[in-house]
């Protein structure tokens, strides 16, 4: 009997208890999962446009109206005399790339899509209110939306773009309120919303070769050209690698023509004198070589990370769908995701693989204008429902650079608009009686044809109240189309809102 086991099996009760404990832990995990979907994710999932509750409500509910910042109605409702179902009517074509459409048969676009749940009243972005709402006999509470957009500016921007394709974004740099968000071409949202014409109108809009359904201001990805130099300046000053007094020879003596970076030759525009520039002069002259050298000294990692602070690299969180802006595709092995020094040097003055949305360039101007602090851009400034009006709070998105660095860049941008040298490139951007800061851009697209015409800026320089970005596709040099349009729109702003 020496082989007798040394221990006997323990009583079953204990291990059964342990199995029970494991099951309780698993159930607790499931309860947490239920809490995640039903409490934490509930607000955004309940608003999803393809949520059946949202779709069902959209058919029968009279959607909330949409107004501009002065309360002027932009979207209202009529009833179909045949079916009695309500449908949308839009007051002004200039707004339709912002507001979009709501159609029984073709769904929603624009703000009608992103704010669908509030407009139909199935959700109010207010957890407590949503909870109380369930105890009512009529649970749907369509909200009215008030936009920060000024009708006067919006119309003027669309008219100013005229038959050209392009975009204008104007915002208050201190609050992030969007005052104008124009994209051309526009399209006929009334025809899509009206059940009698919707089928043909929707097909025609889809077939339109100019792609009006792409809201250029937020979804257009453009080569920025020289307006991107402000991003380079922000990264250079923000990282401390560059100061306002840092100088580079615009034309190195050793190299007779332009700047040779690892075998790639960067050229200056014709007419730029071969001198040594500091930040102000380089910005006035829009020197490619100075900014290429500044960008290389700043380094790819700093350029990427400061751009990242302004939201480059991912779609912006905004009322409308946004495309992402990028400094580089980010798959290179050099610091910051660049392929090599050549790409970094070219990106520093807005070529290479840089791509930006007009909204994003307006935010870059806005960051400089607001002392280095980027405010979250927003279109809707208030919602009004049964229980009164809720104001959408202003939100700070990030602190990008210090107020001193922002002031130095602002001064350089002021000289780019107001100095005798700068004025040559930004003709028409100035506003009588108001000091304006800005930067023009001429985005070379390669091949033949006119470049894109860019301008970003803000005013007044001391206490900025308006920041702007303008792009006119194939509009020529920055000073040709974008700068004068920006000047006119800023002048109109001060006329409308007082100087």
């Amino acid at each position: 009997m020496s082989a007798l086991p040394a221990r006997r099996p323990q009583p079953l009760g204990r291990s059964i208890g342990q199995v029970g404990l494991a099951l309780i832990v698993a159930f607790a995990g499931i309860a947490l999962g239920a809490g995640y979907w039903q409490v934490i994710r509930s607000p955004d999932l309940s608003r999803a446009p393809d949520n059946p509750a949202v779709i069902a409500a959209a058919r029968n509910v009279v959607r909330g109206a949409i107004t501009d910042r002065d309360g002027k109605t932009l979207a209202s409702n009529k009833r179909n005399p045949d079916t009695g179902e309500p449908y949308r009517v839009y007051a002004n074509r200039a707004f339709n790339t912002v507001i979009g459409y709501s159609s029984t048969d073709f769904g929603t676009a624009g703000l009608e899509r992103s704010w669908n749940a509030e407009l139909t009243g199935v959700s109010a972005r207010d957890p407590i209110g949503d909870l109380l709402r369930k105890f009512r006999s009529d649970p749907y509470d369509p909200q009215k939306l008030k936009l920060g957009i000024s009708s006067a500016l919006q119309r003027a921007a669309v008219e100013g773009l005229g038959d050209d394709r392009g975009a204008v974004v104007m915002l208050d740099p201190t609050t992030g309120e969007i005052l104008a968000l124009a994209s051309t071409p526009t399209y006929d949202t009334n025809a899509i919303a009206n059940p009698k014409t919707s089928r043909d109108a929707f097909a025609a809009t889809l077939d339109d070769a100019s792609h009006p359904l792409v809201t250029r201001a937020t979804q257009g990805q453009y080569v920025p050209g020289s307006v991107f130099k402000i991003v380079t300046a922000i990264a250079g000053l923000g990282s401390g690698r560059i100061t306002p007094n840092t100088t580079f020879p615009n034309q190195a003596k050793a190299e007779r023509d332009g700047l040779l970076v690892k075998g790639f030759r960067i050229h200056e525009h014709p007419g730029v004198p071969a001198e040594t520039f500091d930040l102000n002069e380089a910005t006035e002259w829009s020197s490619n070589i100075w900014y290429a050298l500044a960008g290389m000294r700043t380094g790819g990692d700093n350029l990427s990370s400061f751009a990242g602070r302004m939201g480059f690299g991912a779609p912006l969180d905004f009322d409308l769908p946004t495309a992402k802006s990028q400094v580089t595709t980010g798959d290179g092995s050099a610091p910051g995701g660049f392929t090599d020094e050549v790409e970094l040097a070219n990106a520093s003055y807005g070529q290479a693989r840089t791509l930006v949305t007009p909204l994003h360039m307006a935010l870059v101007a806005s960051t400089v204008a607001n002392g280095g602090i980027l405010m979250k851009p927003h279109l809707v400034i208030a919602t009004t429902g049964r229980d009164g009006t809720r104001t959408i709070a202003n939100e700070q998105l990030s602190v990008v650079i210090s107020p001193e660095d922002a002031a130095a860049i602002a001064e350089a941008m002021r000289r780019a608009v107001e100095s005798p040298v700068g004025r040559q490139f930004t003709t028409g951007a100035d506003v009588p009686g108001i000091s304006v800061a800005g930067k023009s851009g001429t985005a070379e697209l390669g091949g033949s044809g006119e470049p894109h015409s860019w301008f970003i800026g803000f005013a007044p320089v001391d206490h900025p109240r308006i920041a702007i970005a303008v792009i006119v596709e194939r509009g020529g040099r920055g000073g040709a189309r974008a700068a004068p349009l920006a000047g006119d729109l800023m002048a109109l702003f001060f006329k409308e809102f007082g100087s």
């Binding site: 009997m1 082989a3 007798l4 086991p5 221990r7 006997r8 099996p9 323990q10 079953l12 009760g13 204990r14 291990s15 059964i16 208890g17 342990q18 199995v19 029970g20 494991a22 099951l23 309780i24 698993a26 159930f27 995990g29 499931i30 309860a31 999962g33 239920a34 809490g35 979907w37 039903q38 409490v39 994710r41 509930s42 999932l45 309940s46 999803a48 393809d50 949520n51 059946p52 509750a53 779709i55 069902a56 409500a57 949503d130 909870l131 369930k134 006999s137």
Partner: protein
């Protein structure tokens, strides 16, 4: 040996009623809750369409009356039987059944329609019929089962029957949605995998209780891992193979996951050895990985789970719609009957009555309701494990634990699947989902648990001696000391322990 041959269960003893006060009180609460739920369902209809509704009244007084009557009859039967069986299980499960009845009445009745003679039965009618059968079966088992020998002595017979059922399903089964799960005999069709759950637990309880001392004691060391003696690895591998077979042959991921989880839980309960569980989980993960690579169904399910929003109107539709339903419910829900918005007359979640009842209830009863339902399942499991812990011998303990774990694990798998915590598998939420096979088997489980909970049940037979002699002599020596653990029947001599050379 004075052990008598196994006899058929005695049908009814002399009637000596024994009051069951706790069950009475709990059932009163259950009845009131279901009544309130039913009235609230009717009120929701009233708000939506005042012309079509009676206002303040139960939604379907006949259904409600029949169901509550049935529950109270079951209660009465238990009182009259005079047995000391558990008083919590019936209220907990009848609450779940009541919730199920309310849900099936609330869903469009046209989801399932069967014509039986002159009657046209809808979803609620059919579910009520199955609930009646299920609770009748549970009560009948609770009242009549007074011996476990018919389960204990024929474990290999049961196992063979189970495998036969599985094979029969594969050979003669009907294909539904690419799965071959149901078997038709004349007009009646059922899903044998449901019954297989019980058979599996009976076999495992028998096998593990018999070889438990060996499994605990002996080990083969492979590197740092201690394995059971090689011959006893066979059932583990067999279970693994059956689980994988279910996936490959029947595309029934849910049953496979359930079987394997219950098997591992019981193995741990019997041996308290973490090594077995680790080994089992490793086997499971390896099997899962191979299945993911080889079986399209598995891959689709996992891919949907990883990112349902990749194709929100295609493969991911059902899962996303369920998440939307949970989200619409929020903390307190929309109220019974006020959720599940229809689109073009269709319910938002396909197969909501079988695969997603928790999502529907999550929407209409909110997080609070989901917690309550999960809590009810935990109560059922807790009662089952309590019965197991105080059982008279290992077989009964493992049987009760296994039966309780089947319900608990199944609820866990489908609830987690509904909530996108694990890939979705098409198994039922016990007592709540629509489905006859599932309800009947759950009835059997509750009936057996109730019967096992009676401490007055016939004492377990003595451990059959010498059976292990079929294995090696070394094994026989090990078996001996543990043999005295089981209480011996009055007739057996305590000196009967023998050691074979």
């Amino acid at each position: 040996m004075t052990v008598t041959a196994p006899s058929l269960p005695r049908i009814l003893g002399p009637i000596r009623p024994r009051p069951r006060g706790r069950e009475t009180r709990l059932l009163a609460i259950v009845s009131i809750t279901i009544l309130v739920g039913s009235v609230s369902l009717e009120l929701a209809k009233h708000v939506a369409d005042p012309g079509e509704s009676k206002g303040l009244s139960p939604a379907n007084p006949l259904h409600l009356g029949v169901y509550l009557g049935l529950i109270w009859l079951a209660h009465l039967a238990l009182i009259l039987s005079g047995r000391r069986v558990d008083q919590i299980l019936l209220p907990a499960t009848s609450m779940l059944g009541g919730i199920s009845l309310l849900l099936m009445e609330r869903l469009p009745q046209t989801a399932v329609v069967q014509e039986v003679g002159p009657w046209k039965l809808g979803l609620g009618d059919i579910q009520l019929a199955w609930l009646i059968l299920s609770f009748s079966l549970a009560t009948a088992l609770a009242v009549t089962v007074r011996s476990d020998r018919w389960l204990r002595l024929y474990k290999y017979t049961w196992a063979a029957a189970g495998v036969a059922l599985l094979v029969a399903t594969y050979v003669f089964g009907d294909d539904i949605n690419g799965q071959r799960l149901s078997l038709s005999i004349g007009p009646i069709s059922g899903q044998p995998a449901e019954l297989l759950k019980v058979i599996l637990v009976v076999f495992l309880a028998g096998y593990l209780s018999e070889y438990r001392p060996l499994l605990v004691e002996e080990s083969t060391t492979v590197g740092p891992i201690k394995l059971p003696p090689v011959p006893f690895l066979a059932p583990m591998v067999a279970m693994w193979a059956i689980a994988l077979g279910l996936v490959v042959v029947q595309r029934d991921l849910g049953a496979a996951l359930l079987f394997f989880t219950v098997f591992l839980s019981l193995l741990y309960a019997a041996t308290a050895r973490v090594g077995y569980v680790v080994l089992g989980v490793v086997l499971f993960l390896a099997g899962s990985f191979v299945m993911y690579r080889l079986v399209g169904t598995v891959q689709t399910r996992v891919d949907i789970w990883l990112d349902p929003f990749k194709s929100p109107s295609g493969d991911g539709y059902q899962v996303i719609q369920a998440l939307y339903a949970f989200a619409r419910g929020g903390l307190i829900g929309t109220g019974l009957g006020a959720g599940l918005p229809t689109v073009n007359g269709n319910l938002p979640i396909p197969a909501v009555h079988t695969d997603f009842p928790l999502a529907a209830l999550g929407e209409e009863l909110g997080l609070v309701g989901v917690m309550a339902i999960l809590g009810l399942f935990l109560v059922v499991v807790e009662r089952g494990l309590r019965i197991a812990a105080s059982a008279a011998d290992d077989f009964r303990a493992l049987l009760a634990a296994g039966l309780a774990l089947v319900i608990g694990t199944q609820a866990m798998i489908i609830a987690a699947g509904n909530l996108k915590l694990i890939p979705l598998t098409g198994i039922t939420l016990p007592f709540v989902s629509y489905g006859g096979s599932s309800l009947l088997v759950n009835g059997i489980i509750v009936g057996l648990l109730l019967a096992l909970s009676d401490r007055g049940v016939e004492p377990p037979p003595p451990r059959p001696r010498g059976r292990l002699a079929r294995w090696t002599g070394r094994v026989t020596r090990l078996e001996t000391p543990a043999a005295g653990r089981a209480p011996l029947p009055p007739g057996a001599s305590s000196g009967a322990v023998e050691t074979r050379p």
